[in-house]
C-alpha cells in the first residue's frame, strides 16, 4: 500500500515537472507576442497600453516584405533540393547493405554535430576563394550542408521500417526498377519524405548562424532580427518574431490537418469495406 502511494507520488511529480518544463519552453514565445502588442517604444512590464500599430507598420513595410520574400525563397529551395538529395541519401543510409555503409553513416551525420557558426564562416571562406560573391543563393547551399544530413536522418527512420521484400515482390511481379521506385518505394516512404520536407523548410526558415555569414548583402528574417536585437530595441523585433512564429504554426497546422485528411480517407475505405 505504502509502495503504491510512493509510486503515485513519483508519477505525479514527474507529470508536474514535465508540465513546468514545457511551460519553460513556451514562456519566452509568449513574452515576444506580448511585447509585439505593447504601445511603448521601449519595452516595459506590466504593459501600460496596447496597440496593433506595429503589425500595420510591418504589413506595409517594403523592407519587411523583402525580408520575408528572401527567407521564403531560401527555405523553399532548400526544402526541394534537400528532400531530393536526402531521399537517396537515406536509402543508402538505411535500406541497402553495402561495404562502405557504416563509414558513410558516420560521415554523413558529421555536419549536424558541427558548430553552425564555424560552418558558416568556413563556407564564407570557401565561397570567396572560389570567387563566388555571397548572396541568398549561397545561403541556400549553406543551409543544405546542415539540413540535408538532418533530413537524411528523418527519412532514414521511415526507411528502417520499410520492408525490402515489398520492392522485391514488385520486381518479381514484372515491374522495372523505375516502376518499383514509383509504385512502391516512393508512396510507402512518403510520410517520411513529407515530414523531412517540413523540417527542412522550418529549419531553413529559422536558421540564423549559417545565414549570418553566407547571405552577403541579402538578409533573411532571423538575421534582421538579430541585427536589431544587438543594436537596440525596436517594437518591430517582437512583431516580426510573432509573425514568423505565427506562420510556422500555420504551416504545422496545415501539415497536421493534411495528415488527418489522409487518415480520414483511409478510414473511409475501411468503413466501405466493412459494409
Amino acid at each position: 500500500m505504502n509502495e503504491q502511494r510512493k509510486r503515485r507520488l513519483a508519477r505525479n511529480l514527474i507529470v508536474i515537472w514535465t508540465t513546468c518544463v514545457i511551460g519553460f519552453l513556451y514562456i519566452p514565445m509568449v513574452a515576444v507576442v506580448l511585447a509585439s502588442f505593447s504601445k511603448q517604444r521601449y519595452f516595459q512590464f506590466p504593459i501600460a497600453a496596447w496597440t496593433m500599430r506595429w503589425y500595420e507598420k510591418a504589413s506595409t513595410s517594403l523592407s519587411v516584405r523583402d525580408l520575408l520574400w528572401t527567407s521564403l525563397t531560401v527555405a523553399l529551395l532548400v526544402t526541394i533540393f534537400s528532400v531530393i538529395l536526402a531521399f537517396f541519401g537515406a536509402l543508402a543510409f538505411a535500406r541497402y547493405e553495402w561495404s562502405g555503409r557504416k563509414l558513410y553513416q558516420r560521415l554523413v551525420l558529421l555536419p549536424i554535430f558541427f558548430p553552425q557558426a564555424v560552418l558558416g564562416l568556413a563556407l564564407l571562406l570557401w565561397f570567396s576563394s572560389l570567387g563566388i560573391i555571397p548572396s541568398w543563393q549561397t545561403a541556400v547551399f549553406a543551409h543544405m550542408v546542415w539540413i540535408v544530413p538532418i533530413v537524411i536522418l528523418i527519412i532514414s527512420i521511415q526507411v528502417y521500417s520499410f520492408d525490402p521484400a515489398l520492392e522485391e515482390a514488385a520486381f518479381d511481379l514484372g515491374a522495372t526498377r523505375l516502376q518499383v521506385l514509383r509504385e512502391i518505394t516512393l508512396p510507402i516512404l512518403s510520410p517520411g519524405i513529407v515530414s523531412g520536407g517540413l523540417f527542412a523548410f522550418l529549419l531553413s526558415w529559422g536558421n540564423f548562424p549559417l545565414s549570418m555569414f553566407t547571405t552577403g548583402a541579402d538578409q533573411t528574417v532571423p538575421e534582421w532580427l538579430y541585427a536589431k536585437m544587438v543594436s537596440g530595441y525596436t517594437p518591430m523585433v517582437p512583431t516580426l518574431g510573432s509573425l514568423t512564429m505565427g506562420s510556422a504554426a500555420i504551416m504545422l497546422l496545415v501539415g497536421y490537418f493534411g495528415w488527418l485528411a489522409i487518415r480520414y480517407k483511409t478510414a473511409q475505405i475501411k468503413v466501405k469495406s466493412a459494409d
Binding site: 514545457i22 519595452f43 538529395l85 541519401g89 547493405e97 564564407l124
Partner: protein, 289 residues
C-alpha cells in the same frame, strides 16, 4: 544471411549508387570548406591566400595569446549546461518512455514545435523576461515591490539560454535510451530482490547509457560551438570561443587566426564525436534493429 544480399537483384550495388548525390554534395559543401580552414590555419597571419609557406606560427600565437580564456569559458559553460540538462531531462524522459503512454506523443510534439522557430526569437523572449523593467522584474516590482534587475547579461543567463535552446537534444536521446530498457528486466531484478534504487543503478542506468551518451555529447558539442546565446543573453559578460572565431574572421580580418581557433574547436568536438561513434551502432539506435 538473407539481408546481406538483398541488393543483388540490382546489377550495380544500389546502396553505393544512392550514396553518391549526398556524398558529392557534402564533399563540396562540407569537406572542401573544412579542408580550406585547416589549410588557412597554417598560413601566415593576415594573409588571404593559401599559397604561402605553411607554418605553425598561428598555433603558437594562439597558445601565447589569451584565447585559452574563451576556450575555458566555453568548456565550463558547456559542461555546466550538460549537467543541468541531464538533471532536468531525465525525469521527464523517464515519464515519456514509461509513464505517459499515448500522451507522450503530445509531449513530443510540444517539445519539437519550438525547435522550428528561430532560436534568436526565442532567446529574445528571454531578454524580454530578464530585462530591467522586463516581465520578471516588472511583475516583481508591481506585485511585491521587489526589484530583480541585473539578471540579464550574466553568466547564469547564458547557461539558461544554453539549457533552453538545447533541451530537446538531450531529451530525445534520453527517451530513446530509456525506452530501450526492457520492462521485463526491471521486473526480473525486482523479483531477485533488488530495491528501486538498485534497479535504477544496476539495470536502468547502464542499459540506457547509449541514449545518455548521445544526449550528453550532442548537447556538449552544440553548446561548445554556440554563438547566439552568449551574444544575446550574455552581452559582454563572457566571450565564448565561437565569438572569438567570428571576430577573427570578420572584424579583425585575420583568416589564419580564425582558422586556427576553428580547427581547435573542431578538433575538440571531433575527438568527442569520434569516441561516441566508435561505441554505438547507428542502425540499432535509429532503426531499433
Amino acid at each position: 544471411m538473407a539481408t546481406g544480399n538483398k541488393s543483388s537483384i540490382w546489377r550495380i550495388n544500389p546502396g553505393r549508387l544512392a550514396a553518391i548525390p549526398a556524398s558529392v554534395f557534402l564533399l563540396i559543401g562540407f569537406a572542401g570548406p573544412l579542408a580550406m580552414v585547416i589549410g588557412y590555419s597554417f598560413m601566415p597571419a593576415h594573409t588571404f591566400s593559401l599559397l604561402q609557406v605553411p607554418s605553425l606560427e598561428n598555433y603558437v600565437s594562439v597558445v601565447a595569446d589569451s584565447y585559452y580564456i574563451s576556450f575555458f569559458w566555453s568548456l565550463f559553460l558547456a559542461s555546466t549546461a550538460v549537467v543541468i540538462l541531464f538533471l532536468v531531462c531525465y525525469p521527464m524522459a523517464y515519464g515519456m518512455a514509461k509513464i505517459f503512454g499515448p500522451w507522450a506523443n503530445l509531449v513530443t510534439a510540444l517539445i519539437i514545435l519550438p525547435l522550428l522557430i528561430s532560436e534568436n526569437i526565442r532567446l529574445f523572449g528571454w531578454v524580454l523576461i530578464l530585462l530591467k523593467n522586463g516581465i520578471l522584474d516588472g511583475s516583481l516590482k508591481y506585485l511585491f515591490d521587489v526589484s530583480a534587475s541585473g539578471l540579464l547579461y550574466t553568466v547564469p543567463s547564458i547557461v539558461l539560454g544554453l539549457v533552453y535552446v538545447y533541451l530537446p537534444f538531450m531529451l530525445f536521446p534520453l527517451v530513446s535510451g530509456i525506452s530501450m530498457v526492457p520492462e521485463s528486466l526491471k521486473d526480473a531484478a525486482s523479483d531477485l530482490g533488488a530495491s528501486r534504487w538498485e534497479i535504477f543503478w544496476e539495470v536502468e542506468l547502464p542499459l540506457s547509457m547509449p541514449g545518455i551518451m548521445i544526449g550528453g555529447i550532442l548537447t556538449f558539442i552544440l553548446s561548445l560551438g554556440s554563438l547566439a546565446e552568449a551574444k544575446i543573453l550574455g552581452g559582454q559578460a563572457v566571450v565564448m570561443i565561437a565569438d572569438d572565431i567570428e571576430s577573427a574572421f570578420t572584424f579583425a580580418q585575420n583568416w589564419p587566426k580564425g582558422s586556427v581557433l576553428s580547427v581547435m574547436l573542431i578538433g575538440l568536438s571531433g575527438v568527442v564525436v569520434f569516441l561516441l561513434f566508435r561505441r554505438i551502432d547507428l542502425d540499432q539506435i535509429i532503426g531499433r534493429r
